[in-house]
Symmetry: C2
Subunit: 96 residues, 2 copies
């Protein structure tokens, strides 16, 4: 499995809108076992996205999906940058 | 919902053993929507644990569960410390 943990920074006051764009855009992505969008509890302008994919290739391919391309297009105006980013190899657990 | 993203540091060569203790110990925790154990792809002595709970209370209560207490007991000798730790409020996504 292939995993990502990343912080996304957003325009002040636009976090909820960005989060809903992301959550809507990620339905039904082949090979996606987990994709969770969460607010950072300290920084009001930061989201955390934690992802688990069957393979890194599945992750790469997802970026070309029409639904993801549309989410990127809609979300880009609200994204101001990225914070920490960690690549992982998920082993197991609950919710996969 | 309540979420946690945390890095756990372990004794050299004991990561797999620690990971399997964690994965075994977390089955059936009330209110746990997601609990994923993953290797850090750069640091061979680090695990990432990403969690989503219905409530923070569910998370706190889980620490008293016999299965979790046993996992903590078994895993403690292999844990050398903790790295980054982020508290989140999950909004949605896949795998919840």
């Amino acid at each position: 499995m292939y995993g990502l943990i990343g912080k996304m920074l957003c325009v002040e006051g636009k976090r909820d809108e960005l989060a809903s764009i992301l959550v809507k855009g990620i339905a039904g992505m082949p090979g996606c076992l987990s994709y969770i969008v969460a607010n950072d509890n300290i920084d009001p302008n930061a989201l955390w996205i934690t992802e688990v994919w069957l393979t890194q290739t599945d992750h790469k391919s997802s970026l070309a999906l029409p639904s993801v391309q549309e989410a990127i297009k809609q979300g880009r105006p609200f994204i101001t940058g990225f914070g920490e980013r960690f690549e992982t190899t998920p082993i197991g657990g609950q919710g996969l």
